[in-house]
Symmetry: C2
Subunit: 237 residues, 2 copies
Amino acid sequence: MTELGGQARNPARVRAFEGVLARIEERIAADGLTVGDRLPGERQLAEQLQVSRSSVREALRVLESLGVVSSQVGRGPDAGAVLTSRPGSALTGLLRLHLGLATLSLREVVDTRLMIEQWSAGHAARSGAGLETMARAIAAMDAARSPEEFVEHDVAFHAAIAEASGNRLTSAIMQALRGAVQRFAIDAVVRLGDTGGLQADHRRIHDAIRDGDAATAVEAIAVHLERAYPSTAGPAS
Amino acid sequence: MTELGGQARNPARVRAFEGVLARIEERIAADGLTVGDRLPGERQLAEQLQVSRSSVREALRVLESLGVVSSQVGRGPDAGAVLTSRPGSALTGLLRLHLGLATLSLREVVDTRLMIEQWSAGHAARSGAGLETMARAIAAMDAARSPEEFVEHDVAFHAAIAEASGNRLTSAIMQALRGAVQRFAIDAVVRLGDTGGLQADHRRIHDAIRDGDAATAVEAIAVHLERAYPSTAGPAS
DNA sequence: GATGCATGTATGGTCTGACCATATTTGGTC
DNA sequence: GACCAAATATGGTCAGACCATACATGCATC
């Protein structure tokens, strides 16, 4: 995280918390720390690294925002800074902020989601993974009695597609993208009034993946996202 | 953050710096703040939000790690916390950490990069954007006298493909992915000894985009990444 | 008036030390 | 053995101080 400070005109100038980040990163690599392991306490870490506890805390806040650690108060085996793995939630926050800053447009987010979902569906069509989860989600959407409930299972359906790729990174990105456009999804369901079209899309996607027909799956996903986010997703790809 | 539903009895469940984050986010949305605008000073912010300066600083560290603000010391128009937009560097740090934690494998990162680069190349073949930049990068690689110099222009070449998509989000992700696997790129150049194959790939990609031949561009990129990261990138897509 | 240097000042960066809130651990009591 | 109170370790927060930096100001000089 040495580039956090922006311009590195003076390389000798490293803020204390950046040094802490570097040392913690080193330790993760050297000691082979992994998810579930605990970091030393803030006070202990401060003493080891010869910085103040404030600096340690700033570094921990950064790691927490990146979804790498999770802090628990109290005492016992679960207390303290524990290494976790939540790249998805970190990405969600990142996207939300940049959407708010107008650094990114909804169009760009939806297009990216289209890219990932089509790519994942292609993989799914070859591996046949996740079909059961998708079918269950479709059935649950049929039984849904409110837009919110429908969208809840819709999320599960699309998450199943992403997970079928077997790639945790694309899954995490997908999850974050979905989170960033979540509020538009409910709007879409309410606006359409009828979920028949969306469900027809879902069945078409599921069937294409089941039949190993990647081309149809890819096309069906494009149709589906265009239906859900009209005038946003362009004729991308 | 997410656990323990109900019990809104104790307001201390939200940490102070999280409140600061929320308030700053609100202000960005409400005041329409955008890149280049300045936030109030740390001391002033602390007083306005009725928290300590430490809490304000922790919130600012989070925003900085997400590529939303950049802090400059000193005095003047450029000093203080300025809103920026560097989702790329934030993503780079995120990926590097999660790679270190073994949350993500190199394979997953390279596969994701393949996805984005193929998608971008498809767009580029349709729009013809970025061809000049690509050609310049290829020429610069020809003239390079060290692996490091070669890789430097290689980065520019692949960045041009990503930017040709016109999607800042995929560009940022691409930049981050590239940064995460950077060290493997130099290894690859040294290992191959001869950059002729890589350059042939580059020319083939460039020519396909120039000719609007998306299918060839996509295939050439797969070949290229397989050459650079053998046994890592699978026959993905 | 223009120039240049000394001083002022606002800003982030860091540290210290204290206290609070929480949750486990410990140990004593019944 | 069960139960409850105290001790303790941990993160969360705060207040205040000082340093380093870099622009702003103003005076002295030319």
